[in-house]
């Protein structure tokens, strides 16, 4: 395992910090997964596949356009990095995906399994329905009996295969003494089959084989929609995780060697390159640098680290290489301990019961009581067991929650599909319902409302020569402030001067010779200027002239302004919580017009603040990205984090914002409210059909034809109502 490390392009600023260098895959004929966010047409597919397949050592390469991924079978000596460079030459952005983090099998096989059952149920119900149409239109005597027997021969095996998910779920619920939606479903299916068989045996008029099958078909369709939406969300979420391949550089006798973070042990010496995130908690033993703690604390000002100082996992090294002696690894790092806070906060949220569950709780006992009453009533009145059982089965079938089973999944699939198109990924099944109830929005500052990238504010105060020197000095450094200077200088078309002997002094700044003069740029205290400490700044000194300060601010993220205006117009309370210094937070809150803000908040305080709002009966939407927000994200009613956030923060939140802009959030609230309204409407439609059909069933007038009509029309009208969300774009 060698380490040739060039920092390849990465998808997001958050990943920029982690070591993204490829590692030799250990397995024979390695399966390499690449994420290709920019492929979009057949020409792209052909180009990528041709490029990859013509590379020596690649056995096969196939692009999946739906997932925007390339799957490559290649000999072990093929390095992922070279393939990424190869694609970059062709004009495609590619990122390595950690194949281990993508558990494609579980979600996808579940979806495939449901689809197979759905196909069998669909086939069987079509055939039985054809036979039933013949019976309804007047087939008699031997013909009717024959048709019923054939129906039975199709329905019994078909149902015993395709209705298994319901039977299994119902059995699990009954075993622990509870009722769920699957109990009345299973009971209706089984009772319909039993009475129909009995009727067929006795050459009766009515058999409900078609009803039992269509019921299974519609309900499976709902389950499948649900599974598909969830697996799409999960695979996108997994992809975000897989983009961060956790690797670290460990010192060995012959220099640093790349190893998996999980292999690190306490006492190991770990090299953290500039731009990389510390993989462990540790003490600095060698090197000097500045670290960015923004993701952990929300603090935008970089801090200096010298030998003897402690560094926590997750901090980003900015300037010089640092060697750490690991003091805590894996589960013991401060990063992981913070994640434990999340588990505690999350327990509160699991108390939320979804609309569907609440409906089921009302519904399941009601149906059973109704059908039992119908059975007993008819038994007393007519004394005929066969008639009474028939009536009971009819009641169960008519009331069976075909439409209810479709009501929620159809709406959530349509709504999450629409939001996904706008760059919002919904991870949790009930997130939309919870989002619809929100009345207070709590934001984190650094990295959420702001980009986390500093921007130069007083560039115009500088003289032309100073600008040129600052630009030339900044070009030699990867420090975020240098990058900001370079960006500003490029944008203004600034000239640069020729410098010699440029050297970066890690932890302090950059110095160089400009003709006969010495020029320096870096920490104000290093140059010898006193800064008020409230602003992010760097000092520049040209020769013997008096040093000047360059000041920076953190800029607002794209769409932040519109989002806040939209939220306030809709009457939401907006709160800003930040771990940053008071002055910075106040200035930012003023600029965006946020009235309530709290600065210097510790992670625990943030979580408590959010929990307290919850106790006051408010429904809080928390938007945050850092580790310091994780607990707050988990304790909020519903939470959103940007894709650039730390893995822990993304894991704790219900939705992930995929793009750079914040604007989808306002729309998401609107869509969520609309979706909840649709779900309620769907429940009403389903109830309406029941109100009409149930009296018929109880009165013994529900023929199989009426059952089939009621079931199909209610299911179709519910689905159409749900589709209205996706359609209105």
């Amino acid at each position: 395992m060698t380490t040739v490390t060039t920092n390849t392009a990465v998808a997001c600023p958050g990943c920029l910090a982690g070591p993204v260098d490829p590692i030799d895959a250990p397995s024979k004929d390695a399966r390499i997964l690449l994420s290709l966010p920019t492929v979009h047409c057949q020409a792209c597919i052909a180009k990528v596949e041709r490029a990859l397949n013509s590379y020596l050592g690649v056995t096969s390469a196939r692009v999946n356009l739906t997932l925007k991924r390339a799957m490559i079978e290649a000999a072990p000596e093929v390095e992922t990095g070279t393939l990424i460079d190869l694609l970059a030459d062709e004009g495609f952005e590619a990122h390595e995906l950690d194949a281990g983090a993508l558990s494609e099998t579980t979600t996808r096989t579940a979806g495939r399994d449901l689809l197979m059952r759905l196909a069998v149920a669909g086939f069987a119900s079509m055939n039985v329905m054809l036979l039933s149409v013949a019976v309804w239109s007047g087939a008699e005597d031997a013909t009717r009996d024959l048709f019923h027997w054939i129906s039975a021969a199709i329905a019994l095996p078909a149902i015993s295969f395709s209705a298994q998910p319901f039977f299994v779920n119902a059995w699990h619920a009954l075993r622990v003494g509870r009722l769920n939606m699957d109990v009345p479903i299973s009971l209706a299916i089984v009772l319909a089959l039993v009475t129909s068989l009995w009727e067929t045996w006795l050459s009766g008029h009515h058999a409900y084989f078609d009803a039992a099958l269509t019921l299974t078909f519609f309900l499976l369709a709902g389950r499948w929609l649900d599974a598909r939406a969830r697996s799409a969300a999960r695979s996108a979420a997994e992809e975000l995780t897989a983009l961060e391949v956790p690797r670290a550089l460990r010192w060995s006798e012959n220099g640093p060697v790349e190893v998996a973070v999980s292999e690190l042990q306490v006492g190991d010496r770990v090299l953290v390159r500039p731009g990389a995130r510390a993989p462990v908690d540790g003490e600095v033993v060698n090197g000097q640098s500045e670290v960015d703690r923004a993701l952990l604390t929300g603090e935008t000002l970089p801090e200096r680290r010298c030998p003897g100082d402690m560094i926590s996992a997750g901090e980003v090294n900015l300037t010089g290489p640092l060697t750490l002696r690991a003091t805590a690894v894996g589960q013991d790092t401060s990063l992981q301990r913070m994640a434990a806070l999340v588990t505690i906060a999350e327990s509160g949220r699991s108390r939320y019961t979804s609309l569907a569950d609440r409906a089921a709780k009302l519904y399941a006992p009601g149906v059973h009581i109704l059908s039992a009453l119908a059975f007993i009533g008819w038994l007393i009145w007519s004394g005929d067991m066969r008639v009474s059982l028939n009536i009971a089965a009819a009641v169960l079938i008519i009331t069976c929650p075909c439409a209810l089973g479709l009501a929620v999944p159809a709406v959530t699939t349509a709504a999450s599909g629409r939001l996904f198109g706008q760059g919002l990924l919904i991870k949790s099944a009930t997130a939309l319902e919870r989002l619809a109830e929100v009345d207070t929005v709590v934001f984190d500052k650094t990295g959420t409302l702001t980009t986390g990238k500093p921007q130069l504010t007083n560039w115009d105060d500088l003289q032309a020569q100073q600008k040129a020197v600052a630009y030339a000095l900044a070009l030699g450094s990867q420090h975020p402030l240098s990058l900001a200077i370079v960006e500003m200088a490029r944008a203004q078309g600034c000239e640069q001067v020729q410098l010699s002997d440029t050297s970066e002094i890690p932890g302090f700044g950059v110095e160089a010779s400009f003709g006969s003069e010495k020029v320096r740029m870096g920490r104000p205290d290093w140059i010898g200027v006193v800064s008020d400490g409230d602003e992010i700044c760097t000092a520049l000194q040209v020769g013997g002239a008096a040093p000047i300060l360059l000041t920076f601010t953190d800029t607002a993220r794209l769409g932040a302004d519109q989002l806040l205006t939209a939220l306030k117009d809709q009457g939401f309370d907006v709160v800003l919580l930040s771990g940053d210094r008071t002055a910075a937070v106040e200035a930012f809150a003023d600029a965006l017009g946020i009235d309530e803000w709290h600065a210097s908040m510790l992670p625990q305080e943030k979580a408590e603040f959010v929990a307290e709002l919850g106790d006051q009966g408010r429904r809080v939407l928390m938007v945050g990205d850092g580790l310091n927000d994780t607990a707050a994200l988990a304790s909020a009613h519903v939470s959103i984090s940007p894709a650039q956030a730390l893995d822990a923060a993304r894991a704790a939140s219900d939705m992930v914002l995929l793009g750079q802009t914040l604007s989808p959030i306002a729309d998401a609230v609107a869509v969520a409210r609309q979706a909840t309204r649709r779900i309620r409407e769907n429940f009403q439609i389903a109830t309406l059909y029941n109100v009409i059909a149930v009296p018929l069933a109880v009165a013994g007038m529900a023929t199989p034809l009426i059952a089939a009509l009621a079931m199909s029309t209610s299911s179709i009208s519910v689905s159409l109502n749900a589709l209205r969300i996706g359609g209105r774009r």
């Binding site: 739906t66 197979m116 196909a119 055939n127 013909t143 024959l146 199709i154």
Partner: protein, 53 residues
């Protein structure tokens, strides 16, 4: 009505063939990349000679 003795089995077998066909496409993972497959047909790479595996 004797024709039913032929027609019903025939219709069931035909339908069953369709079902088997669908299950086959499902098993051979033909629904993994619907978007890509709909585009691949537009590519003329293998139009003149077949791809040799």
């Amino acid at each position: 009505m004797n024709v039913l003795a032929y027609l019903i089995p025939i219709s069931l077998i035909l339908g069953g063939l369709g079902l088997l066909g669908f299950l086959y496409t499902l098993k051979s993972r033909q629904y993994d990349d619907p978007e890509g497959d709909s585009r691949r047909i537009l590519s003329d790479t293998w139009d003149d000679y077949p791809k040799d595996d």
